[in-house]
């Protein structure tokens, strides 16, 4: 009796195992992989990553999101990657323990204002905050410099990114505090003039200006140029007082399992072709200090 049951059971089992193998395609070997974390949008990273893959044969896995949140997860061990691509230099320097030093081969050619002593991170591009305004709303006396931000004329009509939420806001504020004579009291005056509502990002600032919700704003040069290219009706103003380029960079996470590939990526990011590409197509300033190409001369004052 027992034997019979066993035989029947075996037969049924065999029937049950319908082979559902459709042939798993060849995945790339571990040597040929790289995991990158980036805060950039797809428009920015995708062409670069794709070019890197085609040139080197290394498969890239991209994760996106805010750098500060990611660093939190990195510390707690929830998540890891090989390279953080994007994020301002001070973030890397504050958490230097999480990253490995790497001195890119073209380091000598990089403009000194982009470099810092530390080899923890490598600069990738510069992006200065600029003024932007809506020409339909502002017909006379457009703003010319940072001083206009505390001019009561523009009270309640200024779009500014929240320093607590956005790197633009934070960096812009720090920069303004350095550039303007008011120094410490600047923040108070600004917030009085700007009011309660703050934007989340450079993109939002530009959009709000384009939509006519605000008259004037502070945004990254890159965002404004991109907006102009898309056909937004906005004007870009390089302020009289000047501006500092906020430098984004890359860093290799320590303990990364694809160290060599990570280094290749950093080399790639600062190579001439890429730097030309980002200045022509992504409106970012290259780290070699060259002029911006191909802004078409539109909307500049």
């Amino acid at each position: 009796m027992k034997k019979l049951i066993c035989i029947i059971g075996a037969v049924l089992l065999l029937m049950g195992c319908s082979a559902e193998e459709y042939g798993i395609p060849k995945a790339p070997s571990e040597d040929n992989r790289l995991v990158i974390y980036t805060p950039y949008s797809e428009e920015v990273y995708a062409p670069l990553v794709k070019e890197f893959e085609e040139r080197t044969g290394i498969w890239v896995e991209i994760h996106t999101g805010s750098v500060s949140e990611f660093i939190g997860r990195l510390k707690s061990g929830e998540e890891t990657c090989d390279v953080i691509f994007g994020g301002t230099g001070d973030i890397f320097e504050t958490e230097a323990a999480l990253f490995e030093e790497y001195y890119v081969s073209r380091r000598g050619e990089i403009s000194p204002e982009y470099l810092t002593e530390s080899g923890i991170w490598t600069p990738f591009s510069g992006n200065p905050p600029v003024l932007v305004y809506n020409p339909k709303l502002v017909r006379n006396n457009p703003p010319t410099g940072w001083e206009d931000l505390i001019d009561p004329v523009w009270s309640g009509k200024i779009a500014f990114a929240d320093p607590l939420q956005s790197s633009l806001g934070y960096n812009a504020l720090t920069m303004l505090q350095q550039l303007m004579p008011e120094g410490g009291q600047l923040a108070e005056h600004l917030s009085e003039n700007i009011g309660e509502v703050l934007q989340d990002s450079s993109d939002e600032v530009v959009k709000e200006i384009a939509n006519g919700n605000y008259y004037v704003g502070v945004a990254y040069e890159e965002t404004v140029l991109r907006g102009l290219q898309k056909g937004y009706d906005i004007m870009l103003v390089y302020p009289d007082e000047g501006s500092f380029a906020i430098v984004d960079g890359l860093a290799i996470v320590s303990g990364s399992s694809h160290r060599e590939n990570a280094e290749s990526f950093i080399e790639f990011a600062v190579c001439e072709d890429v730097q030309r590409y980002i200045s022509q197509n992504l409106y970012r300033r290259p780290v070699y200090g060259g002029e911006l190409f191909n802004n078409g001369g539109k909307g500049m004052e």
Binding site: G16, E20, Y22, P25, K26, E54, R55, D273
Partner: protein, 562 residues
């Protein structure tokens, strides 16, 4: 379980029938289902594989053609000189291009770029000429290779390029071939069945062509992650299979998305329905087997029950059976056997009764001497004629006794019995010269009770002979009482008593010892034969202190005849 099966023949049949009906049914269903599903799926997979190969082959053919065109353009001296001159619109160059791409233009757009990345000639002038960057993307790749290189275009589509070089190796320009959605639709339509959809991904799994663009972004990135995670390719809903094929020439991957024949929901439904049907089948089979087994086993069961009755001693059983088969024969045989047994029993009982009756008669024959009676009569008359009155009295008494013994019915009234006893006493009184006295104490109401004749005589005799023969002042009392609905007649004396062993033998009704105490045993036997073991003789005695013998009889009254 085993014990339950062993316990009844019917249960055995039940289990057997159940298994026979159920197992093949289940086996068949399951096997059929599995085989069917297997075959369907295999068939579908094969078909999908075929379609994919066809698509891939057609694509490869196209790529080969592109390669040939590129070859032609790259080696053409007129093209070289046109590019060297760097002025647009060389008629010759255009003609050349159009001639070479004659039958291919519906599948792609062909362009010639100069070394700086400006488009000089194009087969599709509806779109304004594009600028490409020689240090980037497709042109960069073409610059680094001697052959046609293939990439996915930005936002999809295919773009292939080859550098047109001087003999020295310097780049003069580029041939760029682009395929968009429509081109792919045209190429790959009718190759695969409408239910399926095809995807072409580049070397790093970015989309080149998606037949169903709707879910484009998410689907491809999901697949890419699954690939990198070494997981099997599945879609979100779990209702489709992905079959992949790697295209060598371009490094592209072709993926065919085929809806599963048996999706999880379908499988669940099938499983649910089969289980449900299975349960119903089980119930039906059990019911049918139960009924059938009962029907088959019932005659056996009845026979078994009848045998049980017989074992208990009840022979009055009869097994009804209208069958003509072996079971019918068994039932008939059983009935005959029971009948025989019953008859046998009756005969035995009858026989036994006859023996008892005969024995009784024989017992009484011992008390029936015809001859002695006649002789005594003679003695009486000789006594009378010789004036010996005491001889005459003795003889008369004896005659009465004997007459009673010979004739008449088995039963007489107690009053008549007492008269006989008095005659007996009279005789013994003469013998024993008045050494004893005799007294009776019998109430009026008992006088008419029926008793077996001469049943008390042996008791009195026993008292006289064994009780008081040695003494001078013997006393015998005969009394009658009612006890427990029975008549108990006691004969007590003050004699020497009955010895222990004899006493116990008397009281133990089973034994029979010939010899001196024959009389008492006879009385006991007669009473028990007539009335049953409840009745008979009991004795009480203390050696040296008298004895009392009791006779227990049922109370029977004389029937008065008219």
């Amino acid at each position: 379980m085993r014990a339950w099966i062993r316990r009844s023949f019917r249960n055995r049949i039940f289990v057997t029938i159940l298994l026979i009906t159920l197992l093949p049914l289940l086996l068949c269903t399951v096997v059929m289902m599995q085989v069917q599903m297997q075959r369907s799926e295999t068939g579908m997979a094969e078909q999908a594989g075929q379609e994919l190969l066809r698509a891939e082959a057609k694509f490869e053919g196209l790529m080969t053609s592109f390669g040939d065109i590129a070859d032609g353009l790259c080696s053409n001296t007129m093209m070289h000189s046109a590019l060297r001159r760097e002025n647009k619109s060389s008629h010759v160059a255009y003609q050349l291009m159009f001639r070479m791409t004659d039958d291919m233009r519906e599948y792609a757009k062909f362009e010639i770029f100069d070394r700086n990345g400006s488009c000089q000639y194009s087969t599709d002038n509806s779109i304004p000429p594009a600028e490409l960057e020689p240090g980037w993307g497709i042109l960069y790749a073409a610059g680094n290779s001697q052959e046609l290189v293939y990439r996915s275009g930005t936002g999809g589509g295919l773009v292939a390029a080859r550098a047109i070089r001087e003999y020295s190796g310097d780049i003069l320009g580029y041939v760029v071939i682009s395929m968009n959605r429509e081109n792919f639709d045209l190429l790959l339509s009718d190759i695969y069945s409408p239910a399926n959809s095809i995807m072409v991904l580049d070397k790093y799994w970015y989309p080149v062509y998606l037949a169903q663009p709707v879910l484009a972004d998410t689907t491809v990135s999901v697949l890419r992650s699954q690939l990198l995670a070494n997981e099997q390719l599945t879609d979100v809903t779990g209702e489709c299979n992905y079959i992949t094929e790697y295209q060598e020439k371009t490094g592209f991957t072709f993926i065919l998305k085929q809806p599963k024949v048996f999706t999880d929901t379908v499988r669940d439904t099938i499983f649910f329905v089969s289980t449900f049907m299975g349960v119903i089948c089980l119930a039906l089979c059990m019911w049918a087997s139960w009924r059938l087994s009962r029907h088959l086993a019932s005659p056996v069961h009845r026979l078994d029950a009848a045998m049980g009755e017989v074992q208990k001693g009840n022979f009055d059983v009869y097994v009804k059976s209208s069958r003509e088969d072996e079971l019918g024969h068994l039932a008939d045989s059983f009935n005959l056997m029971a009948e025989e047994y019953r008859k046998n029993l009756k005969r035995t009982v009858e026989h036994q009764k006859e023996i008892n009756a005969t024995q009784l008669r024989m017992l009484q024959a011992q008390l029936n001497p015809h001859f002695l009676y006649n002789t005594l009569d003679s003695i009486k008359w000789m006594g009378v004629s010789n004036d010996a009155s005491r001889v005459a009295d003795m003889a008369t008494s004896l005659a009465v006794l004997l007459r009673a013994g010979i004739s008449g019915s088995e039963f007489i009234t107690l009053s008549e019995e007492l008269e006989l006893i008095e005659k007996y006493i009279a005789i013994q009184a003469i013998r024993f010269e008045d050494r004893f006295t005799y007294e009776t104490d019998v109430a009026e109401k008992y006088q008419s009770c029926l008793v077996p004749k001469l049943v008390l005589q042996p008791l009195v005799e026993n008292s006289i002979i064994h009780g008081i023969s040695e003494s001078e002042f013997g006393y015998i009392k005969l009394s009658a009482v009612e006890n427990d609905g029975d008549l108990v007649i006691s004969v007590s004396d003050n004699g020497c008593g009955i010895p222990e062993e004899i006493l116990s033998q008397l009281n133990d009704q089973g034994k029979r010892i010939p010899g001196q105490h024959l009389g008492l045993f006879n009385v006991s036997s007669i009473i028990r034969l007539y009335f049953g073991d409840k009745y008979g003789i009991t004795a009480e005695s203390e050696p040296g202190n008298g004895s009392c013998i009791r006779v227990r009889l049922p109370i029977q009254r004389e029937e008065k005849h008219a």
